[in-house]
């Protein structure tokens, strides 16, 4: 079946099997390999992307469910001139990544968390709870949480 998705701002159409998961649509049909797969039980969050601006685990969504919608992956986050998104910058400044495998999913989950916070001032506890579904084996989460809290204070992301 044909599935059309606006992927990182560009509309694309691919012919995939109905059972194709969004993560395979992104990785294989569209060839964007930044989004990773870390498990087969919806537990790790390595595959997290934004679907219409909100984070989803792309291994639990069928590509067909994204028909006509917008998907943003790690590749679509920086500006066209390469300027990194405040969350990406905060990850580098706070050493929020080591092997980098969880990173695309973590970053997307945090981008979504920051977008959804409204007027709420995020606490460390909020961030930790919010990231419960995103596993990292390298960083012990400490610097990821720091990065998220730093990004939350970034002026560009203030509403």
């Amino acid at each position: 079946m044909e599935v059309t998705i606006t992927l990182n701002g560009t509309e694309c159409t691919h012919d995939v099997e109905p059972r194709t998961l969004l993560v395979y649509y992104i990785r294989e049909a569209a060839g964007l390999k930044g989004t990773n797969i870390g498990c087969d039980t919806t537990s790790c969050g390595a595959c997290t992307v934004l679907l219409d601006g909100r984070s989803v685990k792309s291994c639990t969504v069928l590509a067909a469910q994204a028909e006509g919608r917008t998907v943003t992956t790690i590749e679509g986050l920086a500006e066209a001139d390469g300027t990194m998104h405040p969350v990406q910058r905060a990850f580098q400044e706070h050493h929020g990544l080591q092997c980098g495998y969880c990173t695309p999913g973590m970053v997307m989950a945090i981008v979504s968390m920051l977008a959804e916070r409204g007027d709420h001032v995020l606490t460390e506890a909020d961030v930790r709870l919010g990231l419960e579904g995103n596993l990292c084996r390298c960083t012990g989460y400490h610097n990821i949480v720091e990065a998220a809290l730093a990004a939350a204070r970034a002026p560009e992301l203030r509403l």
Binding site: L77, Q92, T103, R128, L131
Partner: protein, 768 residues
């Protein structure tokens, strides 16, 4: 001013953050076939038949292979002292010995086709008796290798004196289970293989040692090393478990040669939980004896190590446990005995610490049992027995020579950072109030060994005619940030800007030799080799500059901020790196380059003290880690940002073992925790932020003064957290809770202590 010691941001990050890394599964290999495996579904059984007719006919299938089809010799245990008769076939041959063992290889045009076809393979088994518990395996009643006649694959004996505890006022004994855990790098195992135009094998591997993979493939496939080219693209974590070459790697390479097409193998998480080796898995009996006033006189530890179905690195972990048995304490007498046994479980391998966390956990638990017995504060007991700073190098009773150490300041700093007296006061207040939420404070003073199986490392620095530098290293980073750290070292020696220094690793064609990244060895030996190469390239450049400037070489100085050489006193006439690199090519016909095979002057011994605070709900058994202070001493710190990152990650994995993670089996050898839904891998929500600091006691064993930092966090944190859990319950009479300290275990320990108190007996009291 030197860049060393600064919080330099990682140059690896922009790519990882904007496009993601390039891991094996991300490679674009046109016309590649997918390889998958049919795995054993029973823990022990004779293979009566394999029916792959339907699989072979399935759409897209290109090949279905069994061990017999491959005709390759089994892989013997990698270390000669392990029982060599227990060799591991590349695919199960005749018998399967654990659930998850690969039996049949299926190759198809796509991953989905391979998976579908694998389900059509029917394997007929005759079940055999299963042994899961290493203590049962010790009895040799159920044998994994009947022809060998025993399950024992490795044994260490170091004393057994009946009068060992003579002169001790107090002797405390404890059985401790250091449970089996799964390493869980977030990227599972993966490999890709193809034949290059010249017939050489190109092999992409998610590994901690590119050269190790090359050498093992060469011996397993009976090929010359030169005919194999191994590349490690980005690697999504390893933690020791990817320092091993697995049978699936060899099968991947074999299929590429057999079928003449690129092969990709990338396992699922559920496969990985049974395919990647496990860690820890020791049963320990510790006995500690000393005086009533807290002076340790004798320490004994007996270990049964679960090696899993085929002896691998896990089988030799007791060797490292013995090496570090007495920890940071000045103990006159020590005994250590161990037996490693095979069981019908996933083979055990190295996992972050590999034998040393087990040593630290044993003695740190023993210390707290002893402290409880003589009613002494655990901090005071530790301080009283720490090896004094003025006796290094210090040789332990098990024969290990510690290079350098200054243990008391690390203990003092950790207690100060934790606010220890206030914590104890809070604990007393809670106990008096009698609520269900009790506070526990756990200490762990540890010392560990890095580059523990001491080996040298390769490093090279080459200056290009444009004045930029290329660094080649034999280390194999997979998250540690060597591209940043090695560039810092070279920038500091050469004066060339970091952005003009490229680091190359993990390609056996571009880096001629290498050992890899494991055992926290990289900086102290790999970094030191790169540093030495940089020093030597400066010497070569100085000689060239002397020639060009017609001066005596002794008068030539390197102006690092300007990255130029000149005669002392006349900075206006100088030669830069580009000119010198060109001069080298023109005059000597060779690049300006220095290559170093740095031999090791021996292992180094990082140390520190961790203090964990937990809150335990005595009604439900629920444990929450409230805070964790880590004071680590890894000698001189090159980049505190990266060193802290290593400590944080280590603490999380160590706390995970103490609190939640445990790989378990039922009695029939069925894994109960074979995926991420069932295995309680620790998340951000279960952890606090950490409070990490360093003291710096340089080692004399390398020019950087650096010790390893990769595993300290794990080694220090595990016993601190476990001790905190027991400490929270000590007023109820609880003296020990095994890891993982799950609500059930904690609750049962409380019930048992209450029952003992009711009977008027004291719980698990050691005899004097």
């Amino acid at each position: 001013m030197s860049i060393l010691g600064n919080r330099v941001l990682r140059r690896e990050d922009p790519k990882l953050l904007t496009t993601g890394g390039t891991y094996v599964g991300d490679l674009d290999l046109p016309s590649a076939l997918s390889l998958t495996f049919v795995r054993a579904t029973i823990a022990h059984g004779r293979i009566l038949g394999v029916d792959s007719k339907d699989a072979k006919r399935a759409p897209g299938v290109v090949g279905v292979f069994t061990c017999d089809d491959m005709g390759l010799a089994p892989m013997p245990p990698s270390m000669a002292f392990l029982n060599q008769a227990m060799a591991r076939p590349l695919l199960a041959s005749g018998v399967v010995r654990y659930v998850g063992e690969a039996v049949v290889a299926v190759v198809a045009e796509s991953a989905a086709a391979a998976t579908d076809a694998a389900e059509l393979v029917v394997i007929d088994y005759e079940p055999l008796a299963v042994v899961v518990d290493p203590l049962e395996a010790l009895k040799d009643e159920t044998l994994l290798f009947p022809e060998v006649g025993t399950n024992n694959c490795f044994e260490l004996q170091f004393g057994h004196d009946d009068r060992f505890f003579e002169g001790c006022d107090v002797v405390v004994r404890q059985r401790i289970i250091n449970q089996r855990v799964a390493p869980c790098p977030l990227e599972t195992r993966a490999a890709a293989a193809l034949l290059e135009g010249d017939g050489r094998l190109l092999f992409y591997s998610s590994t901690q040692s590119a050269h190790g993979v090359r050498d093992t493939l060469a011996s397993s496939l009976d090929l010359a090393k030169e005919s194999i080219h191994v590349i490690t693209p980005d690697v999504g974590g390893g933690f020791g478990a990817k320092a091993t070459v697995y049978p699936e790697d060899v099968v991947t390479a074999w299929c590429a040669r057999r079928l003449g097409r690129p092969i990709v193998w990338s396992e699922t998480r559920s496969e990985s939980m049974l395919g990647l080796g496990h860690g820890r898995a020791q049963v320990q009996d510790v006995e500690i004896g000393g005086t009533r006033d807290g002076r340790i006189l004798a320490y004994r530890i007996d270990v049964v190590q679960d090696a899993g179905a085929y002896p691998a690195i896990g089988a030799m972990l007791p060797f490292m446990t013995r090496t570090m048995a007495t920890g940071v304490y000045d103990i006159a007498r020590a005994e250590f005995n161990s037996t490693s046994v095979v069981t019908n479980t996933v083979p055990t391998v190295a996992y972050r610490g590999a034998g040393r966390p087990e040593a630290a956990a044993a003695i740190e638990r023993a210390m707290d049992c002893y402290a409880a017995e003589i009613a002494m504060d655990p901090g005071e007991l530790r301080r009283k027995n720490l090896i004094a700073a003025d006796v290094f190098p210090y040789t332990t009773p098990t024969g290990t020579e510690y290079d350098s150490g200054n243990y008391v300041p690390a203990l003092d700093l950790a207690l100060e950072m934790a606010g220890y007296p206030k914590l104890r006061a809070d604990q007393q207040a809670r106990r008096r109030a009698g609520g269900s939420r009790q506070l526990g404070i756990g200490l762990s003073s540890y010392v560990e060994i890095t580059n523990g199986v001491p080996e040298g490392e390769y490093g090279a620095v080459e200056i290009l005619p444009n004045g930029k530098a290329i660094v080649r290293t034999g280390t194999s980073p997979h998250g540690q940030g060597h591209h940043t750290s090695w560039a810092m070292l070279v920038a500091d020696q050469l004066g060339i800007a970091m952005e003009d220094i490229e680091v190359i690793h993990g390609d056996t064609d571009l880096v001629p030799r290498g050992v890899g990244t494991f055992g926290s060895r990289s900086l102290q030996i790999g970094g030191a080799a790169v540093n030495q190469a940089a020093i030597e390239v400066v010497d070569k450049a100085r000689a060239l500059a002397a020639d060009l400037l017609e001066a005596d070489v002794a008068d030539i100085v390197l102006d690092k901020p300007g990255a130029t050489f000149h005669v002392a006193g006349t900075p206006s006439i100088s030669r830069g790196w580009a000119e010198l690199a060109q001069a080298s090519l023109e005059r000597a016909g060779e690049p300006l380059m220095a290559e170093v095979d740095l031999p090791t002057a021996g292992a180094t011994f990082p140390f520190g003290t961790h203090v964990a605070v937990v809150e335990v709900d005595t009604e439900t058994g629920q444990v929450r880690l409230v805070s964790h202070v880590a004071v680590d001493d890894a000698g001189r710190i090159l980049n505190p940002l990266l060193a802290e990152g290593q400590v944080h990650g280590g603490i999380a994995q160590g706390a995970a073992q103490a609190l939640v993670e445990e790989f378990s089996y039922d009695a029939a050898g069925n894994p109960l925790t074979g995926n991420f839904a069932d295995y309680s891998i620790i998340s951000a929500a279960e952890l606090p932020s950490f409070d990490a600091a360093f003291t710096e006691t340089p080692t004399p064993r390398n020019a950087l003064g650096a010790k390893g930092i990769g595993e300290s966090g794990t080694i220090g944190s595990t016993p601190a957290v476990q001790n905190a859990v027991v400490d929270a319950l000590s007023h109820l009479g609880v003296r020990h809770v095994d890891m993982a300290t799950t609500p059930e275990r904690v609750w049962l320990a409380i019930q048992a202590a209450r029952a003992d108190a009711g009977n008027g007996t004291k719980s698990r009291k050691g005899a004097a």
